[in-house]
């Protein structure tokens, strides 16, 4: 059973998800009782594609808007501007029953395997819930065989069925969350920092599992993380988000071996490599200053206050994300 094998080469596949010029705004917290509610722009002009069986790694520092992208893609947030297409169909404004049907095909795996599972439900009920909600089975016991198969897929013991979440370790809980996300056979999984809360030795179990499932089922992942090493390991393509804007998007190796945007360079050089000799020899670019905050995005390129290449133009005009090489897009005036 290898769905992936029957697919054409990655580059020739029609995208399962396309995002075009997406802008998302949040209500800003009000200054005073009488002040007009104002808006902050959490994401601005975001565009990317994900193809079937592909993993797009989405990297950015805290507050850059990664989770917001995930929520918008899953239609849990409305767009201020732009369009989202799922399998070629415009889903930007679908609502109600249509949205419910759509959600079957797009699932979410959360960061925190402790908070995301209901402690009072048996594992069987947790994993079966989506099947019941979508009327595929009437009750959990009817789904026992199917869920047994899911348990096997994610590497949980069969007797896990009747136990409660507290009886499982963090890594096992994350497997339960993944089994639940897989129950409806989605084509796209948004995984929002799925391994960040796990210990190093357990992280590898879940990373390997996600890779195996992709190979077996041909699922596409939007893999959100701030750990660039994990992202390099799991992604086919990588997008770098900085303060609400995509600054670079490219094939994994192109991005890591030949980063173009000054922020990507800084980010990559800041990641410590677990090997003392290599780490000592690495070129490190440590730029002073903090990451800008959503309520105070600067004008022009959001990176200009920290960027060593910045010129006056950078603080006035926003650079667009454009192709600088084959399928390698960069948003920078000077690269």
């Amino acid at each position: 059973m290898s769905a992936a094998l029957s697919l054409p080469p990655l580059a020739d596949r029609e995208p399962v998800l396309s995002v075009r010029s997406m802008t998302v705004e949040y209500e800003a917290s009000r200054g005073g009782l009488w002040s007009k509610p104002s808006k902050v722009q959490a994401l601005r002009d975001i565009s990317f594609d994900i193809r079937p069986g592909e993993t797009l790694g989405l990297v950015g520092e805290s507050g850059s808007g990664k989770t917001t992208i995930g929520r918008a893609v899953l239609r849990r947030l409305d767009l201020a501007d732009g369009r989202i297409f799922f399998r070629g169909r415009d889903i930007t404004n679908v609502r109600g029953e249509e949205l419910r049907k759509l959600r079957r095909h797009m699932q979410l795996v959360f960061q925190d395997p402790y908070a995301s599972l209901n402690p009072r439900m048996r594992v069987l009920d947790i994993v079966a819930e989506p099947l019941i909600v979508y009327g595929i089975v009437k009750n959990a016991d009817e789904a026992r065989d199917e869920i047994g198969e899911l348990m096997r897929l994610v590497g949980l013991p069969r007797d896990a069925h009747d136990r409660y979440p507290h009886a499982f370790s963090g890594g096992q809980r994350q497997r339960i969350g993944i089994a639940r996300a897989l129950a409806l056979k989605p084509e796209l999984i948004v995984a929002d920092e799925p391994v960040s809360a796990l210990d190093v030795s357990v992280r590898a179990q879940v990373v390997n599992l996600l890779q195996d499932l992709q190979k077996e089922l041909g699922i596409a992942y939007l893999f959100i993380a701030h750990d660039l090493s994990v992202v390099r390991h799991i992604s086919h393509r990588v997008a770098i988000l900085h303060s609400g804007r995509l600054v670079e998007i490219a094939d994994r190796d192109a991005l890591y071996d030949n980063p173009q945007h000054p922020y990507t360079e800084a980010l990559l050089s800041a990641v410590p490599v677990p090997d003392p000799r290599t780490q000592r020899a690495r070129k490190r670019l440590i730029y002073r200053g903090d990451i800008p905050d959503v309520a105070h995005w600067p004008s022009g390129c959001h990176f200009h206050a920290r960027c060593p290449l910045a010129t006056e133009r950078c603080s006035l005009q926003v650079p667009l994300l454009i192709n600088k090489g084959e399928d390698h897009k960069v948003a920078c005036w000077h690269r």
């Binding site: 992936a4 697919l7 080469p9 990655l10 580059a11 069986g53 592909e54 520092e61 805290s62 370790s169 963090g170 890594g171 096992q172 210990d199 190093v200 030795s201 357990v202 992280r203 590898a204 179990q205 990373v207 390997n208 890779q211 992709q214 190979k215 701030h226 660039l228 090493s229 994990v230 390099r232 390991h233 086919h236 994994r252 190796d253 890591y256 800084a266 980010l267 990559l268 050089s269 800041a270 990641v271 410590p272 490599v273 677990p274 090997d275 003392p276 000799r277 290599t278 780490q279 000592r280 490190r284 440590i286 730029y287 002073r288 903090d290 990451i291």
Partner: protein, 340 residues
């Protein structure tokens, strides 16, 4: 100043710490031995629950009910801090000669005081400075930890600062009394990677200029590699391997260390499937008999039901394992990177 001297500054000997909980006694530390000399950098690595923070807290005298030190000793410059008039000396030393920074600076900063006032308070309390003296010194300290515009920042409250800046404030407070030993418990875990790099660079710089001894606690092998000369690996309340960083990363002896290194993806790595250490660490409510890693160890043998001592494997490296340096994990196959 002298570089690394021979006399150990801090020695922890066979330290055992237990916590009474509703579920029973948690054996948090089960015989921890370590020592650090002046000017030395030691990393303690291990996953959550392995006992890293408890070790730091014990040294800082912060183990409180429901916890207790049940046996072992902690020595500062050769003298016990637990027996005789040790506890009295300990109170004088802590916060002054030894200081601690935590993962989350918010929990240790007072939200109602400006950061300048908080640093000044430390200076007045421990060094008996006057208000004016302290004020000048605060600005110098803020400068030293790389905070821009010190006079303005000194008058701000913790919530007005970013996480990276708060951590710098904590570091300024920790070095205020010119300590000899700085213990940093996951100081960058809550920070973004570019900010982490700034803070680690700061700690490394201070370590050198002040000839500080640093114990850096982390679960991130990358952070260790950048900063520390020696490494102790903890697992289930014990140190399972100890050695020089260069050596330990190149030829880890303990199966757990071997697995840990190969389960960590590397930014600069070719794509091999990660080694997954199956299972998870044991509960410290009823720790297993013998080697704690036995249930997850691919090369366990009969003898592993006895606890292996931390013994020298080769010069500068010791491990608590009956079969040290035996390759425990098979070569992992390369990943077929793209699906094409």
């Amino acid at each position: 100043m002298d570089a690394i001297s021979d006399m150990p500054l801090l020695e922890v000997e066979r330290l055992c710490v237990e916590f009474d909980t509703r579920a029973g006694v948690v054996h948090g530390l089960r015989g921890v031995d370590l020592s650090i000399r002046r000017g030395e950098t030691l990393a303690i690595v291990g996953e959550s629950g392995s006992g890293k923070s408890v070790t730091a807290q014990a040294v800082m005298g912060l183990i409180d009910v429901p916890g207790r030190i049940v046996s072992g000793d902690i020595k500062w410059k050769g003298q016990s801090l637990l027996t005789g008039d040790g506890p009295k000396r300990a109170r004088e030393i802590r916060g002054k000669e030894v200081s601690l920074i935590f993962q989350d600076p918010m929990t240790s900063l007072n939200p109602l005081l400006t950061v300048g006032a908080q640093i000044a308070e430390v200076l007045q309390r421990h060094l008996g400075m006057t208000k004016t003296q302290a004020r000048t010194r605060v600005l110098e300290l803020l400068e030293a930890v790389g905070i821009p515009a010190p006079p303005r920042r000194a008058n701000q409250y913790p919530h007005e600062l970013s996480g990276g800046m708060r951590q710098r404030i904590m570091i300024a407070m920790a070095i205020a009394c010119e300590p000899q030993l700085l213990i940093a418990d996951e100081p960058t875990t809550a920070l973004d990677v570019t900010i982490q790099a700034q803070v680690l660079e700061l700690i490394a710089g201070l370590q050198e200029t002040l000839n500080l001894s640093v114990i850096l606690i982390t679960h991130d092998l990358g952070v260790v590699a950048g900063l520390c000369r020696r490494v102790a690996v903890m697992y289930a309340g014990r140190i399972v391997e100890m050695g020089l960083a260069d050596d330990l990363f190149e030829r880890p002896s303990h199966p757990y260390t071997q697995g840990l290194i190969r389960s960590t993806p590397r930014l600069d790595d070719r794509m091999n499937r990660l080694i997954a250490i199956e299972g998870s660490p044991p509960s410290l409510l009823s720790p297993p008999v013998g080697c704690s890693f036995r249930a997850r160890c691919p090369i366990a043998v009969e003898r592993c039901t006895e606890q292996p001592p931390l013994a020298v494997v080769h010069p500068g490296a010791s491990a608590a394992c009956w079969r040290p340096s035996v390759p425990a994990w098979q070569e992992s196959p390369p990943l077929e990177a793209a699906l094409t």
